[in-house]
Symmetry: C2
Subunit: 480 residues, 2 copies
């Protein structure tokens, strides 16, 4: 299966070396292999695709401690796996065996907040939910929003350039960052905590660390951009008779509300069926079934702006014959109900047996054709499998999941993981798409990377890796 | 003066080598030193701060030719200066003497346009105005807009991460790019022409080239993001009795129209005086003088949206006692007149003797205090000098220009360039600001860079330079 990748060749650190590492953070914050139960939350990926092993987990409390850890790692050639909330979906945060885990969770302070300047300085270990709350407390919006926000950490979000539910209007994690503090492989600290909107003084180092999955340095703090909070929000659940209608409605929505359109999330009927079947208390927002749905959301800085825009947009789409049926949330609770359906789309698949996952993107205008072809391709491999493509239509980013045929043996189905994802990825590549739109490469897709990148691009990435981490101690066996 | 920096030590290419370079593009497109008049437009910076020299200007017609040029440059150790429209303000595009100039101007084709997908693929040599027009032809907006747009080229805009007049709503050049095609120092071609909104597969190479000022590779083409065109626009010329009122009006404008606020451009009374004095046909939009002005613009996807937002915003600012007087443009012509005042702000200074320029940014909320302190600092150096700070208030980016005292000898005034910019830059650094918000480093600010960057940051930049251009042939003596 694609998620079994070869471990890098590393030697085990000596007991003496481990003791030196533990002394940096103090015994209380160094979790040894003997403390198996305490280590477990750091070593098991939540879907249980990966189970890691480590001689030592370090929980530094300051940038200074992280710096001393990496200086020692560099001196002793000890491999390090940086870890945030352990919610990543490609195994980047799980050690193979001989690496030390450096958890940023204790570094969870707000360093400063500037409402007027629309920025905040936070440490890497704050959960995303805590960052959102810190922004709300100064009447601001931090727009990054993903399913795991209660436990994922902002440092991990930045290290993986997380995407999520509001990328359409606000961009992904990268777009939320003004500056970074990073500890380099040899322990040097880069203080790039600038709160500037514009700064053309040299190479863009910030964006190099964002999305590098802990292979170039450890992000310890960030200056985040925050925004004035929207004064109104309108949420609609829309049914479509055909994919092309959804596509044209998206075009219309973008034209009528670019910048205010915060979500256009696609769901197939099968996904709604699964939710209605397995998620208690859910109901179909519309009176009859449709093959496709979209959750459409508009936010506005004017108090009556969002509903006016949403209504105008839906009216035009109805007039153009694009919308079969639609419900606009009449209350906050109803909006939450609509979102609940979308948010349960991943979890409910667990109840239907094996599910083969993917996280792909293509240029937005090609999505309908891509979806048609990818569905055909997986059905050609396994005629009774159940494609469940859903996700961030507006970003061209679809989680093209496939549930197992009813009654098939789960393990036999999951054994087809590589076949099925290869078929999807081949079509993705034909459309000039990405095999990992938001989840990253980690260990899961590392072997695939040279297949989808040109030799020139691989060489450039390796040259950067060598320049930043010549001893290869930062998250070896991940990404590259 | 800050714009005199030492040339790198380079040897002159042999006649034989020059002949090999010329053969790549053909005689017609190789301009030798003997053709002085034809070389001149490529060698003189428009403000005449820099006059360059080169044995050969090459005008390749394809990516393939650029690739062959750099392969040969790499083989022979010949230095190369990439050049777009020769409008840069820090001399990055001007050769010191032994480098060959590679002008991208012949590579000016639209490769493809996708209105539905909101993207276009263009070659580096298209002027910015031609790119804007290409977008308009498919009913889309390419929002990058700068004074030199009639002659600057998109490749240069990306290589320098240009800013300009609409960064507040749309971001700088970096934010307009989905993918790049780049020729590397040794002639390898990176095809990164992806039209994806989301792609988390490896390091962000794209953003490394953007803003690298031709020192890491030559951008030959780009996938640009375009947007649905706004359906309405409202432009106001606002007078303020005090800087703090302007600042609070900006806060209000951002809260009431974030995402739709496309400009908040600051001008001092002195600047308006200069315009009224030297730019024919201009008139003061307001009935009486004020110390500060802002040109405020709002765009909306709704036909009546912009004026409604602008009126609501100005009404609230008036009620709060922040605005002394304001005029909303009643016609397109009037809006153009307002913009004409702003756009002439730089040129009119030529008529008032010497002008010392800067292009700085600080966190937006600190602008009023920064302006107060910088004005005090330059007046302390030269009590009769005339500070003329203007520009992109909303981005925290001010062109803090200083016109000479009336009657002072121009050369004597310009001899104070370093003193005056050093005083401004020192205050910029206190506020955690940037000494080059949008113009880049080039040769003008190269010597300053190590003063404003930490050793760690300089080391990282040099490591990247070495990894991408080990022989140092790409734009030596610029940026680093």
């Amino acid at each position: 299966m694609a998620y079994e990748t070869s471990a890098p060749v590393l030697s085990a650190p000596s007991g003496d070396t481990l003791a030196r590492f533990a002394a940096i953070v103090g015994e209380k914050y160094a979790i040894t292999a003997a403390q198996a139960a305490e280590q477990e939350p750091y070593l098991i990926e939540w879907r249980r695709l990966y189970r890691g092993k480590t001689p030592l987990i370090l929980r530094p409390g300051s940038t200074q401690e992280v710096s001393r850890i990496l200086a020692l790692a560099s001196e002793t050639g000890t491999a390090i796996v940086p870890q945030g909330g352990n919610t990543g979906l490609t195994g980047a945060q799980i050690p193979f065996g001989h690496e030390l885990v450096v958890s940023l969770s204790r570094m969870n302070r707000i360093r400063s907040r500037d409402a007027r300047g629309n920025s905040m300085v936070v440490e890497a270990g704050m959960t995303l939910a805590a960052v959102q709350k810190a922004a709300e407390e100064i009447d601001r919006l931090f727009p990054l929003s993903i399913g795991s926000e209660g436990s994922c950490q902002i440092g991990g979000n930045l290290a993986t350039n997380a995407g999520g539910l509001q990328v359409l209007a606000y961009g992904n994690a990268r777009a939320q960052v003004l500056g970074l503090e990073v500890v380099l492989a040899d322990g040097r600290v880069w203080d790039g905590l600038r709160a500037l909107r514009k700064d053309n003084t040299g190479y863009d180092l910030r964006d190099l660390f964002i999305g590098s999955e802990g292979t170039l340095g450890i992000i310890t703090a960030a200056v985040l951009r925050v925004l004035p909070r929207p004064q109104s929000r309108a949420t609609a659940f829309v049914g479509f008779a055909a994919m092309e209608d959804a596509a044209r409605t998206f075009d219309l929505a973008l034209e009528m509300s670019a910048g205010e359109l915060t979500a256009f999330e696609l769901m197939p009927r099968l996904g709604l069926d699964f939710v209605l079947r397995h998620a208690s208390g859910t109901r179909d927002p519309l009176g009859q079934p449709f093959p496709w749905y979209a959750l459409v959301e508009v936010a506005s800085q004017r108090e009556d702006g969002a509903s006016a825009t949403a209504e105008a947009m839906l009216t035009r789409a109805v007039e153009a014959g694009l919308i079969a049926d639609a419900a606009i949330a009449g209350s906050l609770q109803q909006a939450r109900d609509f979102w609940h359906i979308r948010e349960m789309m991943s979890e409910v698949q667990l109840h239907e047996g094996g599910s083969i996952k993917s996280d792909v993107s293509v240029p937005v205008a090609h999505l309908p054709e891509f979806l048609r072809r990818a569905e055909g391709a997986v059905l050609a491999i396994l005629p009774d499998c159940r494609p469940l493509p859903f996700g961030h239509y507006g970003d061209g980013n679809i989680h093209f999941n496939v549930s197992q045929p009813v009654g098939m043996d789960k393990a036999a189905f999951l054994a087809r993981w590589d076949d099925i994802t290869a078929a999807i990825n081949a079509i993705v590549m034909e459309f000039g798409g990405s095999i990992s739109a938001e989840h990253g490469i980690g260990r899961m897709k590392r072997a695939l990377l040279p297949q989808v990148k040109s030799p020139v691009e691989m060489e450039m990435m390796r040259a950067i890796k060598t320049a930043f981490d010549p001893r290869g101690i930062l998250n070896p066996g991940k990404l590259l």
